[in-house]
Amino acid sequence: MISVRLTVNGRAVERDVPPRRSLAEFLREDLGLTGTHVGCEHGVCGACTVLVGGRSARSCLLFAAQLEDATVTTIEGLTPAAGLSALQSAFRDCHALQCGFCTPGMIVAAHELLAENPAPSREEIRAAIAGNLCMCTGYVSIVRAIEQAAAARRGGSLP
């Protein structure tokens, strides 16, 4: 077992973990944060995307033991205490999800994009979520939702 101390969704966490425990398993099983989903375990599908130090990362490809002193944010950390965030509302309004399995990872990726680029073009949105597979929506409504959320966060609305 390896001892690891990190910050998850703003809370200090200290645990002993087996060396082979992935960050995804650590979040889901040790911390009960089941909003992070596991879709492929080889770093392609993006369902397990979380923020590590503000940058998106595949939690299936990181070991928990690597994350000493890291700051990790999951979908739970991007969810307001009451109601939905601008991105979450936009996903609902635009029907940007069906089965919902990719949605937490998709929202994490979109959050990272909007943090850096408050007014992304459609192509920039598509590039930003190209590492996240959605098998249901064909991405059209997801792109729309991120556009709408960006506009809402800027305080404007879409033409």
Binding site: P18, R20, R28, L33, T34, G35, T36, H37, V38, G39, C40, E41, H42, V44, C45, A47, T74, I75, E76, T79, L84, L87, Q88, F91, R92, D93, H95, L97, Q98, C99, G100, F101, C102, T103, P104, I107, R122, I125, R126, A127, I129, A130, G131, N132, L133, C134, M135, C136, T137, G138, Y139, V140, S141, I142, V143
Partner: protein, 798 residues
């Protein structure tokens, strides 16, 4: 009254699913839960000589190991959905022979997944390799290696179904177009993999299964039979399901976990990893189709002769359905006088083929719509004009095809015309001509389709010669609780379709409420959800059967509430209406009873009920679609019951140097009748179309000659990303079906059916000199056609 049906109501599900509060299989915790891992065959075909599990059993943390022989001793063979000609015995684990690389041979239950996987590596199996049979045409040949020697053949079904004067039509024809098409193996690959938890309660000798199985009715029956346990002692629960598309069904895994749970006395969970999912769950059936089309020189299509070889892999769950289901769209939208269909359903040593969005119909549509494109080219006709000359006309609805399908409603010419206009077809043709002059390869592809919905299981009689399951039906429940609040449940677990929302919209309209006032149960629970053997999420059936079940249950409970209210108010039930949660006497303001007051009478003050009225305020309704009928004496059958239709237009550019195909524009005009929730419908159209595009350009399960899968991860089995697909433009017509309670038709399979043909037609149009016979159209293949002209492969895609 319909206030809510037809509105793009935001989904009730989304507050939890956007915040990570969904509850999928992997999120379910059980005390004492063990984790299972499976040992899978490395051989495509081999005899199992011996298995030694002793080293695995000795590993600390391992609580139980199950071999095939032990499973066979402890359970019965799994009964297929469609019986095979000779009963074949196939257990949840391979017993003496493996028939595809990836087939489970043994399973381990341990305290955690890593320990279970470590233990699997310690199981020693001695195999005697046998010759694999990978190519379905080779599998038909005499002397081919046999998967089941007791069957004497690899062919599960071969027949010749002839409808109308086929030979006469070919004799009278001006010409005959002959072509051969192939479809590859691909899959919709739901993002959540398949799995289950099985728990045995020794005290009551009952079993509970949590699973993302999309067809619980059928699975429950199999579990009872194979476990040798009365179905009254089984409970099956579906949580949120992370996509399914037909793939999520494998009773064998539930059985394996149940046997391990019985053996260890602990709940046991198994969840596929992605490689297991891609290697062993379910592939869309690959196949070969020989099409002959008899035509007149004015473009009139007279008849089809089709020979269709479906490669089932090692499919004993639902064999032969890949041929049968094609009867639903074999005529596509065209008025065709005569059809001969010669199906072969063939076993090979590959992953089981199975239901995958559209099942069989994408290949059928691909073959017909590719043939139409080639005929247009041969006759020098515009492909749109050729289709318009052959469509079934709206005045002919309902129209019966030669094979017995009844097209219930729709305006196929108007759908295509709307598409041509919105796509600016003429303008784009001019753009294409200009681009050609500049040396750019632009192509426009059209494909139009019918989209059948609601399988009539009686159609299986065509294969088996006798009726087992039949019809098309579903079950639902609506209950007004003692406090007046409303709850509903459906026998079909949602796998992403937003049923909680749509069912709430329907019930809200029937009871005069808002959708937020109707709680719809998540998923499925056999203890509380009414269900049938036919219950589940399959064959595009929601609009055909499920809506009727919900409407029926809501109306029954509404009528009862009104009878109770009428009795209490001393009015006639016909004088009452339900508005805003209250039964009111029409025209008498202030005279009414709330649902809460009615419910109080129904549950508590039962002496206040009308004479002869039973207490309670709950109803169940089992809806059978009235169109379902047995096979007739001419072997015609309505294999599916209600038909949507669509026209797809695709503009592509092919990069000459790299062979890369880029989709520049994509339009879908579709007609699924009454749209119950247009927001959900549009998402289904987008998603299904991208499944079609993925199959056309990217996705392929490739096997080598030894039967080894070469594309078993998402790094080599490529899915469309947001950068691979365009913004899909969607428009719709709305021709309600007269044969469903709210006029809705199927929409789930949608673009997966014509999508591959639309893209292929566009690429072929861009390349002009080549005939595309197979998919996917990868850059490598396009480049080789463009640059290796003269070689034998140049006019074949592989």
């Amino acid at each position: 009254m319909t206030t809510w049906v037809g509105a793009p109501v935001p989904r009730k599900e989304d507050a939890r699913l956007t915040t990570g509060r969904g509850r999928y299989l992997d999120d379910i915790a059980r005390s004492g839960l063990l984790h299972a891992a499976m040992l899978r065959s490395p051989h495509a075909h081999a005899r199992i000589v011996s298995i030694d599990v002793s080293e695995a059993e000795r590993l600390p943390g391992v609580l139980g190991v199950l071999s095939g022989a032990e499973a066979a001793a402890a359970s019965q063979p799994i009964r297929p959905l469609i019986p095979t000609p000779t009963p074949l015995r196939d257990w949840c684990l391979a017993v003496d022979r493996v028939r595809f690389a990836g087939e489970p041979v043994a399973a381990v239950a341990a305290v955690d997944r890593a320990t279970a996987e470590d233990a699997v590596e310690r199981i020693q199996v001695a195999y005697e390799p046998l010759a694999p049979v990978v190519d379905p045409e080779a599998a038909i040949e005499p002397g081919a290696p046999l998967l089941y020697p007791e069957l004497g053949t690899n062919v599960l079904w071969h027949d010749v179904l002839s409808y109308g004067d086929v030979d006469g039509a070919f004799t009278r024809a001006d010409g005959v177009l002959r072509e051969r098409f192939e479809i590859q193996r691909y899959a919709s690959t739901p993002l959540e993999t398949f799995g289950c938890i099985a728990e045995h309660d020794a005290g009551t000798d009952t079993y509970t299964f949590w699973t993302n199985d999309q067809r619980p009715g059928f699975t429950l029956a199999i579990l009872a039979e194979s476990l040798g346990v009365p179905q009254s002692r089984l409970r099956l629960v579906c949580p949120d399901i992370g996509g399914a598309f037909g793939n999520k069904r494998r009773p064998a895994y539930l059985l394996t976990c149940a046997l391990l749970a019985r053996k260890t006395g602990r709940p046991v969970k198994y969840l596929e990893d992605r490689i297991e999912n891609l290697t062993a769950l379910m592939h869309a059936c690959n196949g070969v189709m020989d099409v002959e089309l008899a035509y007149r020189n004015d473009g009139t299509v007279l008849a089809f002769r089709i020979r269709d070889i479906a490669d089932e892999g090692k499919n004993l769950v639902s064999p032969t359905q890949h041929n049968l289901i094609k009867l639903g769209n074999i005529a596509n939208g065209y008025r065709i006088g005569a059809i001969r269909y010669e199906p072969y359903s063939v076993l090979t040593t590959k992953c089981p083929s199975g239901a995958n969005r559209g099942i069989g119909k994408p290949f059928m549509c691909f073959a017909i719509e590719r043939t139409m494109a080639l005929l247009a080219r041969r006759l020098g006709l515009d492909p749109a004009e050729l289709r318009l000359r052959n469509y079934v006309q709206p005045a002919e609805m309902p129209y019966t095809t030669p094979t017995g399908s009844q097209y219930d409603s729709g305006d196929y010419p108007a759908t295509l015309r709307r598409a041509l206009e919105r796509f600016d077809y003429r303008g784009r043709r001019a753009e294409q001509a200009r681009a050609r002059k500049e040396g750019r390869l632009l192509g426009i592809g059209l494909a139009t389709s019918v989209e059948p919905a609601g399988t009539n299981l009686a159609s299986y009689e065509l294969i088996t010669g006798r009726r087992a399951a039949s019809g098309s039906a579903e079950a639902a429940m609506v209950r007004i609780e003692p406090d007046g609040q409303v709850r509903a449940a459906l026998g079909n677990p949602a796998t992403g379709q937003g049923y909680e929302t749509v069912v709430a919209q329907i019930v809200a309209d029937e009871l005069g409420l808002a959708p937020d006032e109707v709680h719809v149960a998540r998923g499925f629970d056999s203890l509380g959800t009414p269900s049938l053997y036919l219950s589940g999420s399959y064959s595009n059936k929601f609009s055909v059967t499920d809506v009727g079940a919900v409407v029926g249950a809501a109306r029954k409970v509404r009528d009862k509430a009104l009878r109770i209210a009428a009795h209490r108010l001393e009015a006639a039930p016909a004088d009452l209406e339900l508005i805003d949660g209250e039964a009111r006497v029409r025209g008498v303001p202030g005279r009414g009873l709330t649902l809460r007051e009615i419910a109080r009478t129904a549950y508590a003050d039962v002496l206040g009920l009308p004479p002869g009225e039973d207490p309670g305020l709950e109803s169940r309704h089992f809806h059978s679609n009235p169109l379902a009928a047995p096979v007739d004496e001419r072997r015609r059958v309505r294999s599916q019951l209600v038909f949507s239709n669509a026209a797809h237009c695709c503009l592509v550019e092919v990069e000459r140097r790299t062979g890369q195909v880029r989709i520049l524009a994509y339009l879908v005009v579709h007609d699924c009748g009454r749209e119950l929730n247009p927001g959900i419908v549009e998402g289904m159209v987008h998603g299904s179309t991208v499944h079609g595009i993925g199959a056309a350009l990217l996705e392929e399960f490739r096997y080598d000659e030894g039967g080894n899968l070469l594309t078993s991860t998402f790094m080599d089995y490529l899915k469309p990303t947001a950068l691979d697909v365009p913004d899909i433009d969607v428009d719709h017509l709305e021709t309600p079906s007269p044969f469903t309670p709210l006029g809705a038709k199927g929409v789930g399979e949608g673009g997966s059916i014509p999508g591959p043909a639309a893209v292929a037609n566009a690429v072929e149009d861009a390349l002009a000199a080549f005939v595309i016979r197979s998919l996917p159209i990868t850059p490598e293949r396009v480049w080789s056609w463009l640059n290796l002209a003269g070689e034998t492969g140049a006019r074949r895609t592989r």
